[in-house]
């Protein structure tokens, strides 16, 4: 005699229900925040500072004006860190995978350590190591420490997946090492490089620990400004700033997921 409802179906439905409940719970605060940026400020019982600007769009314009300096710093930082990380990380990964030299193994381990130590410790070490001279270069150095391991890992994976056979063929046909790298290795690394760039962008845009500890009123990244907004501004302004923060990073994250970027499983340092 068979049961009208199989235990397997019950387990499956219950499992899906748990997953959906979890998703709803995780997204709910975001929905409330998004609503906060668009609902009329008077709803909260007090006149919001940005409300005078008129409507939700006015609120966003107000926030953009308030933190334009931090936004520009963050954009400059990302614009510097992404190319630098790729320019340093790609040849390094190539050397580690294809041309190992004495000590390259330990060098690689060393380059991966920033992922293994608490983010705050790295930030403090950087701050103490460079003296109390917070400046843009220091921010770049801190972000590179976080993002280089991601590039190394992604590009190494791509190199291992592709194998060295075609490179050997090219060499045997008379192509020099540079020609081989430019015409055989690099073109096949493009998906890995795109993924690396997205990962570096997402981490650099959202990084808080280094940015906040090294921040000055002049050189300040957007996540650091986000903290100031949370502690000093009204809820609608904070909500709008949150949405501005998420606007570039969420699409980048979706693209990373679509490309199968497992490296982002650990997410941003919190």
């Amino acid at each position: 005699m068979s049961l009208p409802i199989s235990p397997r179906r019950v387990a499956r439905t219950a499992g899906i229900a748990v997953a959906v409940a979890l998703a709803v719970g995780l997204v709910a605060p975001l929905v409330v925040t998004a609503a906060g940026a668009f609902v009329h400020a008077d709803w909260y019982g007090q006149r919001s500072e940005g409300a005078a600007a008129g409507g939700a769009l006015g609120l966003f314009r107000y926030v953009l004006g308030l933190w334009s300096g931090a936004l520009v710093t963050s954009l400059r930082l990302v614009g510097t860190v992404v190319p630098l990380a790729l320019l340093i990380g790609t040849p390094a990964a190539f050397a580690f995978r294809r041309r190992p030299f004495p000590g390259s193994g330990s060098l690689e381990t060393l380059a991966m350590t920033p992922l293994a130590i608490p983010g705050i410790a790295l930030a403090v070490g950087l701050l103490l190591g460079a003296g109390r001279a917070p400046r843009f270069g220091l921010l770049v150095a801190g972000h590179l420490a976080y993002t280089l391991p991601l590039v190394l890992k992604t590009v190494s994976n791509a190199l291992e997946r592709e194998g060295a056979d075609l490179e050997r063929v090219a060499r045997s046909l008379g192509a020099g090492p540079w020609k081989t790298a430019a015409w055989v290795t690099l073109p096949r690394l493009v998906p890995g490089l795109v993924l690396s760039a997205l990962l570096v962008f997402a981490v650099s845009w959202g990084e808080f620990n280094v940015s906040f500890l090294l921040a000055t009123p002049i050189v300040q990244t957007f996540p650091a400004a986000l903290y100031l907004t949370y502690t000093t501004n009204s809820f609608p302004v904070a909500a709008a700033a949150t949405l501005i923060f998420l606007a570039p990073i969420v699409p980048a994250f979706l693209a990373i997921q679509a490309l199968g970027g497992e490296e982002f499983r650990r997410g941003l340092s919190v």
Partner: protein, 241 residues
């Protein structure tokens, strides 16, 4: 590597700072708090992640991609943002107290964002997506034959989960514990926004550095925190091999 070397050099050039960190109540408390909170968050988030990770790895259902994206989205939130979201829900005029006020007439949980429970919830908020994604990757490689064999021998779904899947998944569970634990230990933004009467090590490091300009103690705390994280991480990782 240079920053780490500088940290170590600073700590060893002033060993009394180290002693102070290990002996003085405030610093030791912050380290113990971090350790306890991170361990608890790791275990609870992994426990809560098992079912969703299994569902994402094994089941196909309409809206699966959407649900999965929603669960993994918090990976892109930095710590301060998570802290803010907890205030949005559980702050003094948060959404949950307001809703409870509408339903029951009493604003329950108002301000609980700033209690230890609120901090713990924040840790769970950023740990659960990590745990789900890490476990899902492991569950995807689970050999279906084992499950089918157990079923053919008459084991029900719960018996199969307990006697086939979980033992097989134990290494993945331990490596997920390591991942979530390490992330919690270094977590700074959440505590910066939420912690009031409760302190964790990263927050204490920040206070020493910026409020008291006490580089030596901050450096020593960093070393202690890194060593603790590394030690427990190894402990979990050894069982995951």
């Amino acid at each position: 590597m240079w920053p780490l070397a500088r940290l170590a050099a600073g700590a060893f050039s002033s060993p009394d700072a180290f002693l102070k960190v290990l002996a003085a109540g405030r610093y030791r408390t912050s380290l113990v708090n971090s350790l306890a909170l991170s361990t608890a968050a790791a275990f609870v988030s992994v426990a809560l992640a098992i079912v969703p990770a299994w569902v994402f790895a094994r089941e196909r259902f309409p809206g699966r991609d959407l649900v999965r994206t929603a669960v993994s989205l918090p990976l892109t939130f930095s710590g301060v943002l998570v802290g803010f979201l907890v205030i949005v829900m559980l702050g003094r005029i948060g959404a949950v107290p307001k809703l409870a006020g509408l339903l029951t007439g009493r604003e329950l949980f108002a301000g609980s964002a700033f209690t230890l429970a609120g901090l713990f919830l924040a840790y769970l908020y950023f740990e659960i997506p990590r745990a789900v994604m890490t476990l899902e990757a492991a569950f995807r490689h689970f050999p279906l034959e084992l499950d089918a064999a157990a079923r053919s021998l008459g084991a029900g779904p719960i018996a199969r989960l307990l006697h086939v899947t979980l033992p097989y998944a134990a290494p993945a569970l331990f490596s997920t514990l390591a991942v979530t634990f390490s992330a919690s230990m270094g977590s700074f933004g959440v505590a910066l926004v939420l912690a009031r009467r409760f302190t964790v090590a990263p927050l204490e490091i920040y206070t020493e550095l910026t409020a008291f300009l006490n580089d030596a103690v901050a450096g020593a705390l960093c070393i202690a925190l890194a060593a603790l994280t590394f030690g427990v991480d190894r402990l979990f990782a050894r069982r995951s091999a």
